[in-house]
Amino acid sequence: MDAPEDAVIRVEGLTMGFDDFVLMRDLDFVVRRGEIFAILGGSGSGKSTLLKHMIGLYTPLAGQIRVAGVDITQAEGAAREAMLQRVGVMYQMGALFGSMTLLENVRLPLEVHTQLPREAMDAIARARLQLVGLGAFADFLPAQISGGMQKRAAIARAMALDPEVLFLDEPSAGLDPITSAGLDRLIRRLARSLDMTIVMVTHELNSIFAIADRVIMLDKESQSIVADGDPVALREHSQHPWVRHFLQAQPEQSDEGAA
């Protein structure tokens, strides 16, 4: 596959599943630098599984995933650690460490991976929290703040090492529309102002139309990508009726007439 020069992530021939069970076959796609890239699909289609393959938590059955030029399926030891420092991950439930304050949570990656003086680490961690609107809450424990704030704090932690790529697993899930829109604005700011590449898994169509530059849609039945492109264009003009109905948030039964 010819990948564009500005590709940050290149997925080639990825087959994923568990033992004999194949979830997706021969996936090919690229994520370009500075892009907000969304992974969509029905429940159980393997969106989060794909994300976990892209950050090296799962080993694919076949294929290659190159993140920032390194094949994450083959990288081991120091090469893998160096590659992981170039990506940040926000997990679905935030995954903040409950016994640490927000400041300590965000400072942790800096303590582990850098030789910066403590003063510098504190300054960076506080600024990351301020960037996500939590500068005043640095000394709070995760249990003392709301779910939406926890997600924003998790983004701050994911950004501690200034990653090239930020992976977000369901950033808006379970949030009210106003908090969700605030999170969308933050994600757009990170991509546009700080030149970060964002890869996110989400179900929130509003978020996708508001911020995503490109979307791929996974289909459980065909075990493949059924759409790849600009979300608004796909909603209006996709050849695939299921894609149009999904993006128009219409019930699936209406496919019968179209098919």
């Binding site: 510098a120 300054a123 709070f140 424990l141």
Partner: protein, 380 residues
Amino acid sequence: MGSTAAEPGHTFEYDATDGAEPRLRLWGRLDIRAVEQAWTPLRERARALAGPGHEVVLDVSGLEYCDGAGAALLHALEQDLRRTGGVRLEGAARLVQEQLGPYRELDEVEPARAARPGGLGSRALDAVDRVGRAAHQQLSFIGELALALGSALRHPRRVRWGDTLRVAEVAGFRALPIVSLIAFLLGVILAFQSAIAMRPFGAEIFVANLVAISLFRELGPLMMAILLAGRSGAAFAAEIGTMKVNEEVNALTTMGLDPVRFLVVPKVLAGILVAPLLALYANMIGLFGGALVMQGFGVPWTTYFNQVTMALSLSDLWSGLFKAVVFGLLVASVGCLRGLQTGSGAAAVGLSTTSAVVTAIILIVVFDGVFAVLFYYLGV
């Protein structure tokens, strides 16, 4: 001029020019790797350049990249220079401005205050409140459990026997290897140590009496209960605690299912069921360990077991088994109570588990003492 390595293939450099308009010029890639090396020397250089009444120009027009760590360094330089003669940032590209934004905003941010403990009086009141709440919770739990167990006795068909047997298998049958090992070693050690003391008097044969009575009346049930607390009481607390954290306990309540009847009763019944069986098994294995040692001292098997049967009375057996039942009830109910008291977060589950084991062991020892006095006065 100073120079540091940034990402491979890039460098970050700086130089300082003194004079009428002191100037600190930065260029290249100001990333986290460059900041690691430049943080202290660059700030020292800037401070050396600054003087009262001298505004220093911080020229960043040559920066090709600046990340969050780079912005931390720029902001620290700005603050250092502002304290002396002032600073003027020159040539900041859009990325540098964006990265500096949160640092500048932070200068204006007032930290929010989390609820903090008050003075000594208020903390003492809080402590009394906590003790009162804990006592209330424990009394409520004892009451609910007593009602649920009473209901289980009146309506045995309503008990979730499938769950009870599953728990009994895990807490009882799967505990046999560890109980075997500990009980065997207990019997061996008990026999060996007492044989050494009794041998000079030619009283080795009475080692059988000592091993049998101490195992059946005291050590068998006690050792079994401590193992049960460490193995199963902790597991009950962790299981129910995790359910509490995941709101599964709330889900049960809103479905109209009483968590005590649904979760606690099967575990407590299983505890009551397996504890005497495990104690009896531990007694047998301990006796066997003692017999092996006595073989070494020249006492035949038949002599040893004759002595054991003569030494033991039915009251020794029943008192030990009764204690085992009470210990089983205590361990299981404390494990479940601590699980239900779990707060939020992963650490809370750990605290509940620890508390379940510690409380169970304390209760076991206290009740063992009470039984010792009680049985003495009852002549058991």
